[in-house]
Amino acid sequence: MSQTNTVSYKELIFNGIVKENTIFKLALSLCPSIAVTNNLKNGVLMGVAVLFVQVMVNLTISALRSVIHPKVRLPIFMLVISGWVTVTDMLMAAGFPEVYKQMGLYIQLIVAFASILARAEMFASKNKVGPSMADGIGMGIGFLFALTVISFFRELLGKGSLWGFPIVNTKPLLIMILPAGGFFAVGILMGFFNWIDTRYMKKGAHASH
């Protein structure tokens, strides 16, 4: 992962989506992912917001990496992250008030996402702007994918609907939209993806697990 000169952008993006998927592989940022995924719409919107913030943070940190003094890198990372989150928050409130009404609480949570700080520290602060953007896109899409899958199953099983539209007329498994169901969904899906990984993708080295 670390030496990027030899790694293509495609691989970097793929890495974020599959090999180092924030939720299913690194098990980071689980708290917000459980909080917002009780319906598909929230999950997807949260994923998009994280994707945007992750890319912008990676770009900024990577562009500033030569002037940031290593001793104060963390406060500076935090400022960059919270700055971008606040900008996203205000732009969304102004541009998409309907969406913001549901998402407002969650967007501010992104400040505390371990996954974003982790990518800034582990990748963007050591790599050029191009690869950092690719890494941000990969990680962001990976997160969006994970939230979409989790919220798809939670809303379908818990409410019998998708994106607010009823699919079946009952609530097959109400517990899935309650917080406890979030743990079930994340755990089962994590197990499923790891099972696929060990069964069909043995060849690649994946040191993270």
């Binding site: 003094h69 500076i76 700055g83 900008v87 205000m90 732009l91 409130a93 541009g95 008030p97 939209i177």
Partner: protein, 212 residues
């Protein structure tokens, strides 16, 4: 750490935080008027939906159910009062439910709207679905009561969410209507005069506090 390091670290932090602050204030300056306008419009839209036939809905005063700030409004059509709208709060299962209630001149409920709540998703949040809200049309004070069996004339509880149903019906809506009726007995409800507002407003608030 050498002196050079100290200077570099200081400069680093000062510059980054300064630039960050400037960017944030610029974005804030651009977006905050739009956000304010959006909020005002959303509220106006909610009021209009509650009283579609009214051509003007003006604020008449403030009160404080459960110690929260709430407002009430007079709805007019062609200069004549056709009803009132009151904002009210009900203590639900996991949140205070922010509700708007519109009544006609006989204090029968026309419509209700849930502005904000944080009830359990999948159970309590059904208070905002039409099948629950529509039950309130035409109810007077005595019929604002939650029943668990199907009894015509009353409000039927959402299964699995009796507390949330009660909070809306017997707390938010009922107290809102009661408040309006008591207010009406003291004198005609009129929209707040913009100039003499401060004096009148003070008086209104005292009364509201006593009732809540």
């Amino acid at each position: 750490m050498t002196a050079k390091d100290i200077i570099k670290v200081t400069l680093n932090l000062v510059i980054v935080y300064l630039v960050g602050g400037i960017i944030l204030s610029l974005v804030y300056a651009k977006t905050s008027p739009i956000i304010f306008k959006n909020n005002e419009e959303a509220k106006k839209k909610a009021l209009q939906q509650l009283m579609p036939e009214a051509d003007s809905i003006k604020i008449a005063g403030e009160w404080s159910p459960h110690g929260k700030h709430a407002e009430y409004f007079v709805a007019k059509k062609g200069g004549e009062t056709i009803g009132y709208v009151v904002q009210s709060f009900g203590k639900g299962y996991s949140s205070y439910i922010d509700t708007l209630v519109s009544v006609n001149r006989d204090f029968k409920v026309q419509k209700i709207d849930i502005l904000h709540h944080a009830e359990t998703p999948g159970l309590g949040d059904e208070i905002q679905l039409p099948y629950f809200k529509d039950q309130f049309a035409g109810k007077d004070l005595d019929h604002l009561k939650v029943v668990k069996t199907e009894t015509p004339g009353y409000i039927q509880a959402i299964s699995g969410a009796t507390i949330s149903s009660r909070a809306v019906t017997e707390d938010a809506v009922k107290n809102g209507v009661k408040f309006l009726m008591e207010k009406r007995e003291e004198g005609p409800l009129e929209e707040m005069a913009p100039e003499k507002g401060s004096e009148e407003k003070g008086g209104n608030e005292d009364v509201a506090n006593k009732h809540s």
